[in-house]
């Protein structure tokens, strides 16, 4: 078990390092931030001073090392726009994003999993087909279309809900629903197929052949076993709590991480973009790690396999 955990931890660290390198390479190699920020008509000495100030005059590998060093000491740099620490800018946006993504996650879990399990238990019924169709529809509608259609109906036509911005709880309803639709579809389909697979297993047939009541078979044997694969998907959804709202925040002018990312990207604010990339990757890696460990705990067979 120790071997499994330590290998998994090592992989997580390597991944974080890879993301850090990616962020550095893409952001530093793509253009000169000095020219972008200062504009084209600035005298050379001002540009030089700016570069010196931000350490952009050093060789690239030196910039890379000091970048890594700074991150490991918790320094994510200053936003080039208003000189405040990037990490502060990012952190103050997190609550807003979570206000959307957590209710959305609850919606996904609360609707997707029961719908999928219900469909699996009533396989090939009209309701099952309906669930499958809606599920496919759910994740084939792009979130920006879904969001705009909801705005068109509930804000523009009916006028019952605000079309954007943050404020009352009503403001969060449309964006949260928009975020959740795709996930509900994915979870419903996934739980359905996981459940169908489990129901076909010999131990289920054995249990029901022994005369165990079907209800108890489902509760005692089918659900716990179907839960194992579902955990993976849910883990991925937890991992994207921070990153999953970029498009929707843009549609609804919601001041969360996603909006900050889009704005910083268009302003070429290196420090902030780096910080967001690392934050997203860290959350993802940690939740994947937790899922893997949880998985090993739920399904002891997996521990015996090599770690990939």
């Amino acid at each position: 078990m120790i071997r499994f955990v330590s290998l998994r931890l090592l992989r997580a660290l390597v991944t974080i390092l890879a993301v850090m390198t990616f962020a550095f390479v893409v952001l530093r190699m793509s253009g000169d931030p000095a020219e972008v920020l200062l504009g084209p008509d600035v005298p050379q000495n001002v540009i030089d001073a700016f570069r010196k100030q931000w350490g952009l005059d050093a060789p690239l590998w030196q910039q890379y090392l000091s970048y890594l060093g700074a991150i490991f000491s918790g320094d994510f740099g200053l936003s080039m726009r208003d000189r405040s620490p990037a990490i502060d800018l990012v952190m103050e946006r997190i609550p807003a994003t979570l206000q959307l993504t957590i209710p959305a996650l609850l919606l996904k879990l609360g609707i997707g999993i029961p719908a999928g399990i219900y469909a699996a238990l009533h396989r090939d019924s009209a309701l099952d087909r309906g669930v499958i169709f809606l599920a496919i529809l759910g994740f084939t509608i792009p979130s920006f279309v879904m969001g705009l259609v909801l705005v068109l109906i509930f804000a523009v036509t009916l006028g019952v809900l605000p079309s954007g911005g943050i404020g009352t709880w009503q403001h969060a309803i449309l964006p949260a629903i928009t975020i959740s639709i795709g996930g509900i579809g994915i979870l419903a389909r996934f739980s359905r197929s996981a459940m169908i697979e489990v129901l076909g297993q010999p131990y289920i047939r054995t249990a029901s052949a022994k005369g165990v009541k079907w209800r108890d078979v489902v509760r005692g044997h089918a659900l716990p076993n179907a839960a194992v694969p579902i955990v993976t998907i849910v883990g991925f959804m937890v991992g994207s709590l921070i990153a999953g709202a970029v498009v929707v925040e843009t549609i609804f002018s919601w001041p969360g991480i996603g909006r900050l990312l889009i704005v910083s990207v268009s302003n070429r604010d290196l420090a902030v973009v780096q910080c967001i990339l690392l934050l997203i990757a860290a959350v993802m890696v940690v939740s994947n790690l937790v899922v893997d460990l949880l998985y090993g705990w739920l399904d002891p067979r997996l521990r015996a396999q090599p770690a990939h």
Partner: protein, 289 residues
């Protein structure tokens, strides 16, 4: 990333027979729609009534049903139908190109991992870990924003989407073929690795790979239209489905038809591919989800 070894599918032939005789109506609709879209994309230049940049300032924001502009016009008086047809072409070309790149890239990596194991395998797993850590949209956002968007970059970038699925399948099937099976036998006959992979393993995994392409294809369409919607994908004056929705968004209240047309097309297309793909998967290869 977990590499599973899909098992053999003994019922394949029966599946094909049954498939030919009964096509559910939804799948039939999907096939028709996809055929229409492909025709649209192939013959866009002949089909569309106007040039996509041709403005008719006297007929700005005409609603659908206006004679000469059956789907209406946008804020500059450009014909929505013409732009829609061109958008279908652009979006399909990007998604198709990217799907091919992704399949080739992923399959190659999977085969390399199966052939060399060890370090190569660790490297592929690391790449997959990296991809799992950074949501694709976010990664693309960073790359496109800082390198600027061009058609080529967009296709190549999208081509990195979903490769790990092919890699996993290709590696798993290659290893199971190599351990005891026909691939080991062919190696024993003196065949070069190139012959083993191209003549034997690739044809044997092709149907599984093609079915996984039907999973990747709609996802790439969604990804590209999402990026274009955010203004980082296809750039004006060229147009794509996402980009039309993005610009049409500002006229949501006054001229919703500008965005509804492309929105419906995106939905129907991804839905059709998913329906057809699901059906194909059930019939041909039930081992992958």
């Amino acid at each position: 990333m977990t590499f599973a070894n899909p098992s053999e599918t003994p019922t394949r032939r029966r599946g094909v027979l049954r498939a030919a005789t009964s096509v559910p109506p939804a799948v039939g609709f999907g096939m028709l729609w996809l055929a229409l879209m492909v025709l649209c994309a192939l013959f866009a230049n002949w089909v569309r009534p106007y040039d996509i940049t041709q403005m008719d300032l006297s007929a700005r924001l005409s609603p659908p049903g206006t004679p000469g502009h059956w789907l209406g016009t946008d804020e500059l008086g450009r014909d929505v139908l013409s732009r829609l047809i061109q958008s279908v072409r652009v979006s399909l070309v990007i998604a198709f190109g990217a799907t091919i790149i992704s399949a080739v890239f992923g399959t190659t990596l999977g085969f390399l991992a199966a052939q060399f194991r060890g370090v190569v395998e660790h490297f592929v797993v690391m790449l997959a870990d990296f991809q799992a850590a950074l949501p694709f949209l976010i990664m693309s956002l960073a790359v496109l924003a800082f390198f600027g968007s061009s058609m080529w970059l967009l296709v190549c970038l999208m081509g990195f989407y979903g490769w790990e699925r092919y890699a996993r399948i290709a590696r798993g099937l290659a290893i199971s073929a190599g351990a005891q099976g026909y691939a080991a036998a062919v190696v024993q006959l003196g065949a070069t690795p190139r012959r083993v992979y191209l003549h034997h393993i690739l044809p044997n995994v092709a149907s599984t790979l093609i079915v996984s392409m039907t999973l990747t294809f709609p996802e790439i369409i969604l990804m590209e239209s999402g990026l274009s919607f955010l203004g980082l994908g296809v750039q004006p004056p060229e147009t794509s489905l996402g980009n039309m929705v993005g610009f049409g968004r500002e006229y949501l209240t006054t001229a919703p038809w500008i965005m509804l047309g492309p929105a419906v097309v995106i939905m129907l297309t991804t839905l059709s591919i998913s329906l057809v793909g699901d059906w194909l998967r059930d019939k041909l290869d039930p081992t992958i989800r």
